[in-house]
């Protein structure tokens, strides 16, 4: 168990390191340089340009710049934005909060809708099952931006229940503004989670150990909890982990559709401005969240399923 954790954490660190090099190469190789964006259409005299380059550390070699940046990150300093001169950590703090609340909200919806509808379909064969399965099959084909369009059109424009842009003040306003985006983000993943839940619950319901439990007189909630759910859970948790991990990057579409100031929008503008430290920090957050959420899902699976613990050893 400990060896497994160590190995996975090491893997996560290596992945983050390689991801940061890839991101660095992409930003470094892209045409134009940061100070050109700063100067805009009226470049100052060459002396001033050289001074600015020196001040920003752009006169050093790319390898040195990368290593300097890496050293700072390892000591907890994400650097300063080349464009606004703010510390990167304070520049990405608010957008990160928006994106993470959006993803967390969507994750709750995915668990409730996906697992709920999947269990409903598994336990009620016949018309209920057919209806739910049809709905969830369609849901797996609905991209977030399509869902966003439908939700904006119906709930923001026609009914006026929710705002079409941005999020309001206070907890209620925040919740209010994030509801439609979270639903849009959750639909496709909910469909997938529902299908997997239904399939694995069905498999358990048809299995011999559930049949035996039934013959022993166990029924209702207890049968469902300790015989069906417990055994169906690992594959469901794995899918939820993968899907939610993917949402951190996928949120950019929904953020743009609803005009939320999340990490996605900041990433796109920072890439355009070649604000290297900000791009790097966001990429690290996105990749790191992906790796950590998958690790978390694996740990939950291991807690639920002793066989997974044996394999991990």
């Amino acid at each position: 168990m400990r060896r497994f954790l160590l190995r996975r954490l090491l893997g996560a660190v290596v992945t983050l390191l390689i991801a940061s090099i890839v991101v660095y190469l992409c930003v470094y190789l892209s045409p134009g340089s940061p100070e050109q964006v700063l100067f805009g259409s009226r470049p100052p005299s060459p002396e001033v340009q050289a001074q600015v380059r020196e001040y920003l550390g752009l006169d050093q070699s790319p390898v040195l710049r990368y290593l300097t940046w890496l050293g700072h990150v390892l000591s907890g300093d994400l650097g300063t934005s080349l464009i606004t001169q703010q510390p990167v950590s304070s520049r990405i703090a608010d957008p990160a909060l928006v994106t993470l609340s959006l993803v967390a909200y969507a994750a709750v919806l995915i668990v409730l809708l996906g697992v709920g509808s999947g269990l409903l379909a598994a336990l009620r064969p016949g018309p209920v099952d057919a209806g739910v399965t049809t709905l969830t099959s369609v849901a797996t084909a609905v991209p977030a931006f399509v869902a966003a369009g439908v939700l904006i059109s119906v709930f923001a424009v026609q009914l006026g229940w929710f705002p079409a842009y941005g999020q309001g003040d206070g907890v209620v306003g925040w919740w209010h503004g994030l509801t439609l985006p979270a639903v849009a983000l959750a639909i496709l993943a909910s469909g997938l989670v529902s299908r997997v839940t239904r399939a694995s619950a069905r498999q358990e319901l048809a299995s011999e150990h559930v049949e035996t439990a039934r013959m022993r007189g166990i029924s209702g909630g207890r049968l469902l909890r300790s015989h069906v759910l417990h055994n169906a859970a690992p594959s469901v948790v794995t899918v939820i982990g993968l899907q939610v991990a993917g949402l951190v990057a996928g949120a950019v579409v929904v953020e743009q559709a609803f005009g939320l100031n999340g990490l996605g929008g900041l990433l796109i503008s920072s890439v355009q401005q070649k604000d290297f430290p900000v791009v790097q920090a966001i990429a690290l957050v996105v990749v790191g969240a992906f790796v950590l959420l998958n690790l978390l899902a694996d740990l939950v699976v291991m807690a639920l399923d002793p066989r997974a613990r044996v394999v991990a050893r």
């Binding site: 992945t15 892209s30 099959s137 991209p143 904006i152 079409a164 069905r202 579409v253 890439v271 990429a283």
Partner: protein, 284 residues
């Protein structure tokens, strides 16, 4: 056990439908995909108007005999834009899937054939690639090459490689364990010949099924990027661009966005259905 005969009978009918091929839903999916592909190829013959020239005097026209699906904010015919949009919307994903297959399948065959250290090294490389989301990579690619379909396609092909390679590796490993592969090797057939002529051929249903599903996801991702304004650029017709017309939505003219959205969903759904039918996997 009154249940037994019933399940046995169901199993029989199921295997019978499998033998006859795609089934009703599979054929329905094929019909949809052929229609969409035909619209893309024959766009100039089908579309009644030029997709990019608008009649500024008639913005947001309601559906009529002249404009079947009405017009958009600058008076362009929505139906014609949808038909032309099929071109970029299908060509992009096709390129992504083709590139991912061309790179991923050989990797998978080598990894399954050699096993041992080769498999571990390739597996770790794929694991690392797996953790970098396609959208992030695509945004960075746009920074390098500028906005456009090309950059997005390259980035997504790289992002899809680990998925394709991983699935193909699992399938190829299963195939490699079968006695016929060993028999062929014993008979003195070379690794390349066994892999290409036998393993690959037997894997092709699985691969075609996977390609179909990957095509669907690539379509979603590329349309999302066009929606963000990073892939296909705004004046050009593309389903993702058409679906991004938030202006029309807020002004209460959802028809253009809705029809592009419906086309995307129906195409993606058909690809999913076709994928599961071809690979013989029962999507319970």
């Amino acid at each position: 056990m009154t249940v037994l005969p019933f399940t046995a009978a169901r199993r029989l009918t199921r295997s019978r439908t499998r033998r006859t091929g795609l089934g009703v839903s599979g054929w329905a999916a094929v019909v949809v995909l052929v229609l969409v592909a035909a619209a893309a190829v024959l766009a100039p013959l089908i579309a009644p108007y030029d997709p990019n020239t608008g009649d500024l005097l008639h913005p947001y026209a309601t559906p009529s005999a002249d404009h079947w699906l009405g017009t958009d904010g600058t008076g362009r015919d929505v139906f014609s834009r949808l038909v032309y949009g099929a071109r970029t919307s299908l060509l992009g994903p096709a390129a992504v899937v083709l590139a991912a297959l061309l790179l991923g399948v050989p990797l998978a065959l080598v990894s399954a054939w050699r096993g041992g250290r080769t498999r571990i090294v390739l597996g770790s490389v794929l694991d690392v690639m797996f953790a970098i989301p396609g959208l992030l990579l695509a945004i960075l690619a746009v920074a390098m090459f500028g906005p456009g379909l090309g950059a997005a396609v390259i980035a997504l092909a790289i992002a899809y490689l680990p998925y394709v390679a991983r699935l193909a590796t699992t399938a190829a490993e299963g195939e490699r364990r079968l006695p016929y592969v060993q028999a062929l090797s014993v008979q003195g057939h070379g690794a390349l010949r066994v892999n290409v002529r036998h393993v690959l051929r037997n894997l092709s249903p699985v691969l075609v099924g996977q390609a179909s599903v990957a095509f669907a996801y690539a379509l979603i991702d590329l349309a999302s990027l066009s929606f963000l304004g990073l892939a296909v650029q705004a004046p050009q017709a593309d389903w993702g661009v058409l679906a991004s017309d938030k202006d029309a939505l807020l002004k209460g003219h959802p028809l253009g966005v809705a029809s592009a959205s419906v086309l995307i969903v129906v195409t993606v759904l058909s690809l999913f259905v076709l994928g599961s039918r071809v690979s013989g996997e029962d999507r319970r």
